[in-house]
């Protein structure tokens, strides 16, 4: 499998820059961008020292949002034809507002998504927003975004998600592929996934990681060094991106935009959406299916959405005898020594004692 190519893409090499639309969240209907003949590119902050974003963002904005704004203000994403922010959390909304005000040359679209994703009203609302987004894309692309093109795009994106889900990859290699695919030409990513698998299954204590956005899959290396084998994830950049239901057949639905909105609302919600109980059930199902011995939550520092759900999720896991550990990310990294102690101690508790 083309792990090197995925890693290269995440390092910014080979990312298609012509007609690229950047996006910051897996609620972005990338299918509409593809249908417009444009290139969806998920934006991951490149890291580095604190920059100009500190001037504009409140001190408690998460490092992921801060890193995105830093990159934008430094001009590192000037090659984008536009950027889209679906409404999930307040920090990214703040980034969108600052972006709109201080980078007016970059075309920006904000998709208002409902907080509660269940019910007919939510679906109608999301469908209207997706339709508004489709029309914005027509303006950027300079041509119509028609139903047949949407249908083809849904088939392509669906094939890519299926290939990722069926790749047999887990942990860091899976995140490299999933995150790499989100910045690459989607057809090229699909072809890479068809290559023979080079990744082996790492040894160690079987751990599921959960949380939101990561800047880089490399962060999982800290868990591996401590003796964890990451066998699966519930991450915005990983399995939640992949697990979009509603695969379409050969015949397009009568209203493809509304159907797409329905699929996005039906997927496993992130903590910025309601209801939260579906996440707990999904976590428990994943733990059982993957025979994970524990869950490690990777949270962006100051991420209120995830922090709000954390006690509920940890209590729910504990009630089912699933131990969990929460770690905070700062500027895309985990502090090495402290993380090592926390994770090793967590793994020791899973074994009832030390293992090394």
């Amino acid at each position: 499998m083309g792990q090197d190519a995925f890693r290269q893409a995440l390092a910014g090499n080979g990312v298609p820059r012509g007609g690229a639309i950047g996006y910051l969240c897996s609620y972005t209907p990338e299918e509409l961008i593809l249908a417009a003949g444009l290139q969806p590119v998920r934006l991951f902050p490149p890291g580095g020292p604190p920059g100009p974003a500190d001037t504009y963002l409140q001190s408690f904005a998460c490092p992921f949002a801060r890193g995105c704004l830093d990159a934008a203000l430094r001009g590192e994403w000037d090659w984008l034809a536009g950027v889209v922010f679906p409404y999930t959390c307040d920090s990214l909304r703040a980034v969108a507002e600052v972006w709109r005000m201080y980078l007016p040359a970059r075309s920006l679209f904000f998709i208002n998504l409902p907080l509660r994703v269940e019910g007919e009203a939510a679906q109608e609302y999301a469908a209207r927003e997706f339709e508004r987004f489709r029309r914005w894309l027509e303006g950027v692309a300079g041509g119509p975004v028609v139903a047949d093109a949407i249908h083809s795009a849904v088939r392509l994106a669906g094939s890519l998600r299926e290939a990722l889900a069926g790749s047999g990859l887990a942990g860091r290699p899976f995140l490299e592929a999933a995150m790499g695919a989100q910045v690459m030409d989607r057809l090229a990513a699909l072809e890479l996934l068809a290559l023979p698998d080079e990744a082996g299954v790492a040894g160690g204590t079987r751990i599921l990681v959960a949380g939101g956005a990561l800047e880089t899959p490399v962060v999982l290396r800290e868990l591996e060094l401590a003796g964890a084998a990451v066998v699966g994830d519930d991450l915005c950049v990983g399995s939640r991106y992949v697990a979009l239901g509603g695969a379409w057949g050969d015949v397009p639905p009568p209203n493809p935009v509304a159907e797409l909105a329905r699929a996005y609302l039906a997927r496993l919600p992130c903590p910025a959406k309601h209801p939260a109980w579906r996440r707990l059930d999904a976590l428990l199902e994943q733990v059982a299916a993957l025979r994970a011995e524990g869950v490690v939550f990777l949270l962006q520092k100051f991420c209120e959405s995830h922090a709000f759900d954390l006690p509920y999720l940890r209590a729910g896991l504990a009630a089912r005898q699933v131990p969990s550990l929460a770690l905070e990310l700062e500027q895309g990294t985990l502090p090495r020594g402290q993380t090592r102690t926390r994770v090793e101690a967590f793994l020791e508790t899973l074994g009832g004692g030390d293992r090394r």
């Binding site: 905070e328 700062e330 020594g337 402290q338 102690t341 101690a345 508790t349 004692g353 030390d354 293992r355």
Partner: protein, 257 residues
């Protein structure tokens, strides 16, 4: 079974050799800037005192990842649990406040770690916090508790950040607040910080307090007041991690503490 435990902490390195009869030898050295060298020296000294060449070794503490002798690595969490279990079988909660971090460890009825919490990338509520404050007050850190004993007025240190708290101490001094009152306030600040951390794990009795800061009666007294019951205090709390490591060394990998 015989075993050697070495706890390479941020400020001091402790080694304990233990046999069937109990502790046979123990040493305490400053870690300095070369934890690997400190670990090697502690090992050499404890082996020399017990003829413990070839005994199994468990190394713990932040310097556990790089030592110049063959050893099993176990975290401080598990080692403190083992050490406290040996000293106080009834303990269900361990508070360990060392040089650069503080931990609260919850134990089940068998002495196994059921949960733990550590301070987050900040020296508030640690021995280092007290060291910095002692420097600001111009006293040895070992004298802070006796200084606080003479406090006659309750004041508050509001800042949790070590650097800001130091500024606050200097401001109090400039306003004529007595060093005794400031020292007492600092102990309350550390105890409250650690008490808050303990809330994440749950404070189940009995509660043992260990680590170097357990030698400071100002902090342990304030913490006991917050908990509402007496604490289990090891006679030599700075050795608890090394003692647990020695105990685990005498057992095989994977055996419960």
């Amino acid at each position: 079974m015989q075993g050697i435990g070495i706890d390479v902490g941020s400020l001091t390195t402790k080694a304990v050799a233990r046999g069937e009869a109990g502790v046979l030898a123990q040493v305490l050295l400053p870690t300095g800037s070369l934890p690997r060298r400190a670990a090697g020296e502690a090992y050499r000294q404890v082996v020399a005192r017990t003829d413990g060449t070839g005994w199994p070794v468990v190394v713990t503490g932040y310097g556990r990842l790089d030592v110049p002798f063959p050893a099993r690595r176990v975290t401080e969490i598990t080692c403190h649990a083992a050490g406290i279990r040996l000293l106080f079988p009834a303990a269900r909660t361990i508070v360990d406040v060392g040089g650069q971090d503080s931990k609260v460890i919850g134990l089940d009825g068998e002495g196994r770690v059921r949960d733990f919490a550590m301070n987050d990338r900040c020296a508030a509520g640690t021995g280092r916090f007290l060291e910095v404050m002692a420097g600001a007050l111009g006293v040895e850190v070992g004298r802070l508790a006796s200084l606080a004993n003479a406090s006659g007025r309750e004041i508050t240190i509001s800042n949790l950040c070590t650097v800001f708290a130091e500024s606050e101490v200097i401001s109090h001094l400039a306003q004529g607040v007595s060093r005794e009152d400031i020292a007492a306030a600092l102990h309350r600040a550390v105890a409250r910080r650690v008490h808050g951390l303990a809330g994440r794990v749950g404070l189940e009795p009995e509660v043992a307090f260990t680590g170097g800061v357990a030698l400071n009666q100002g902090v342990t007294g304030e913490f006991a007041r917050l908990v509402g019951r007496p604490l289990l205090l090891p006679k030599e709390p700075q050795f608890t991690g090394a003692l647990g490591a020695a105990l685990l060394a005498g057992r095989g990998p994977g055996e419960s503490p």
